[in-house]
Amino acid sequence: MTTTQTGLGTYLERILKRHGRDSGRLVQILRDVQAEFGRVSAEAMAILAERLSLPIGDVESTRDFYSFLTSEPTGTYRILFSDNITDRMLGNQAIFDHMARRLGVSRGVVSADGLASLDYTSCTGMCDQGPAILVNGMAITSMTLRRADQICELVRSRVPVAEWPNEFFRVDHNIRRADMLLGTDFTPGSALRAAVAMGREAYLAEVKRSNIRGRGGAGFTTGVKWEAARNARGDARYVVCNADEGEPGTFKDRVLMQFYPERVFEGMALAAYVVGAKLGLVYLRGEYLYLKAPLEEKLSELRAARLLGDSILGVDGFDFDIEIHMGAGAYICGEETALIESLEGKPGRPRIRPPFPVSFGYRGQPTVVNNVETLCKATEIALHGGAWYEGFGTKQSTGTKILSVSGDVERPGIYEYPFGVRISQVLDDAGAKNPKAVQISGAAGQCLTTREFGRRIAFEDVPTAGAFMVFADHRDMFEVARNFAHFFQHESCGFCTPCRVGTRIQAGIMDKIAAGHGTQYEMNELQHLREVMRTASHCGLGQTAGGAIADTIAKFREDYEKRLARKDFEPAFDLDAALARAREITGRDDADSRMLSDA
């Protein structure tokens, strides 16, 4: 072993020790290695594999799955631009190009001096204060050309990110409408006390009575889930908080984690109380790294207040603590079984269901996976009871729902409404300017037009995980759908055929149409692909990956039509560009060395 390897080994040993040499924490370990060395090299991988007794291919498999983990070095300053459609609408591309010029780097390539690398990344959850970027994992909001210049200066002067101006990292809550959750003060421990006072059976009965449904999108009844996990056979039980808020246009969980963490953690403790879990895991998306330290601090406070730890509130046997796991750049990990795989240190490929996590979850044990918002709501039920809770919202959608409103509105931010609120009301409250469409529930959701603005947010009408992206009259809905198509191609886990290949073909067709080479033939292809992906894909990602395209074709066909070539066929590739390399090597530039695509 060479000296450098020995040195590397020592560093890695420190990281391994921090994680108790637990191969189940591989994603966390690899994150730390990436942060320390700017990559996870083949040498590092070999050492980790050996010391964790894992096949090296398994380590490689995990490393290569996550966007934030790289085999090759990134720049000392790794700058990633959030590329949601809302960032684009706020002009992120011009700022990107400006920065690339100033730093002398091109997309995805590290500068010659190794100082900087620049790339795009999937939505970072700052849609109400974009354009947003990540620098070495830390979120910077409200980017402008001026801020870009300042950053370039700091990079060139090699100022550590920790010493950059605080205001860059400011993340506002932008709460515009607070209702029963956001508008109510909360005393840590109060909900737990209430639950303990009534007893776990009675509290579970209240949760069931409230008819609360999961806020992550699927809308499964929370009480039923908890009861199933409690009744399932297992050696241990776990409560997992799904804070992997990756759906483009969603950012309400970020606000809850940052400004209401006591609610979230107490909700987890309530779930643990009911199901009998000793350990809770928060799966926090990698993009929210800036929240990790304050959340750890909050956990310490709660431990000190004996609201976490052994014999919580003096109840014998009510032992529960919480760990925070960081994601590493993979949208699919928002799917609960993929999330569990990731928690176990593996690539986030969704499992076959059934079995569901309630019976076979984290490390094969009964596991409750709840969305951040759902857990917050559990505190309300403990405090006020199920009947009270059921009094809000609609019959099938009780309580309130937090919406993340972004796009063409005067007041982007967080809006909490009782379920049943009309789309038009949200648009009015947010100050939408000539809205022509709303994309509900993100790239995987549905696109509504003016005619549908009278519809209601509720599981029985328009279900949503919370994203509410508004598009004004002048917006091009084709470009919206194209942005989503690329998002899905980038985020497909690759497990099943229709999604792995279909999302790529789909994005290719959208690019072809964008370049003016699409025809009616491509339009038909999109529809057909969508059907195959929808009906054959393994999980929701592939099943919904063609939805935005289908919706926008149905509702904004003119945005596609205006790009279509008026003929029945266009080549699949750019013929003239395909001759470029041969032109270059032969030095030819005669007429026969050129080719028109539509000759």
Partner: protein, 239 residues
């Protein structure tokens, strides 16, 4: 038939044992449902999606859905076969599948399914990916150009051979099978021709060296009878 239950597959009654998947029950009854990533000796995987059927009107993978009494299963329909053709076309354009030069031709499940479902063209724009060939092992050649990510080799090596020689790495269309050795080469593993993993590849990605076109054209596995007909013939033999 007391201990048996039955469901309906394209109108035919299929008797099954509790615990069987729809696919297992159908194959045992001699009724073919197209599949690529399925192997009777391994746990259901559900990634190729060729076995997608409609169960009581809902789409699902026949290999992962348990057979239940009274299910109405549709499989051999124009709609489902049309979608299967698209899935096959996706697999063909995703890799580099040049049958005339492949030793597996005639014995390849991907190709046999394409024949059976009458796929005449890969249809979509070819990706023409650049993939590796690994000839470092004395007895076995790996040609990843033909890999369809079914993970049968991954599962066989891990679950049967106990060697974990392969793993699926990457994400999306960058997914690829890697070899578990510091060099990433098969020659640096304890892989052996006698391993289960050496014989499960449904396509020509894992090939035995020094065996070339041993069976004459016309006598290969799928030259005479289509893959679907062989399932029922096999069952008839066993019965």
């Amino acid at each position: 038939m007391n201990e048996y239950d039955k469901f309906s597959l394209d109108g035919r009654p299929i008797y099954f044992e509790r615990g069987q998947s729809i696919l297992e029950a159908a194959l045992a009854a001699g009724v073919y449902i197209p599949n690529l990533c399925h192997h009777p000796e391994f746990k259901p995987h559900g990634s190729c999606k060729l076995c997608t059927v409609k169960v009581n009107g809902r789409f699902g993978s026949a290999c992962t859905i348990k057979a239940m009494p009274g299910q109405e299963v549709a499989s051999d329909t124009p709609e489902l076969n049309g979608n299967r053709r698209v899935l096959l076309q996706m697999l063909f354009v995703e890799g580099n599948h040049f049958c005339p030069g492949c030793e597996k031709s005639g014995n390849c499940k991907l190709q046999a399914l394409a024949y059976d479902i009458e796929m005449l063209t890969p249809h979509y724009r070819h990706f023409y990916p650049v993939r590796e060939i690994d000839a470092t092992h004395p007895d076995v050649l790996l040609d990843f150009n033909r890999c369809i990510m079914c993970e049968l080799c991954v599962r066989a090596s891990r679950d049967v051979d106990g060697k974990s020689v392969f793993a699926l790495a990457g994400r999306g269309t960058a997914s690829h099978v890697v070899v578990n050795s510091p060099s990433g080469k098969l020659g640096d593993t304890d892989f052996a021709l006698t391993d289960k993993a050496a014989s499960v590849c449904p396509v020509g990605a894992i090939l035995s060296k020094r065996v070339g076109f041993a069976v004459p054209i016309g006598e290969r596995q799928y030259d005479v009878d289509p893959i679907s007909a062989q399932a029922s013939a096999r069952q008839a033999e066993e019965a």
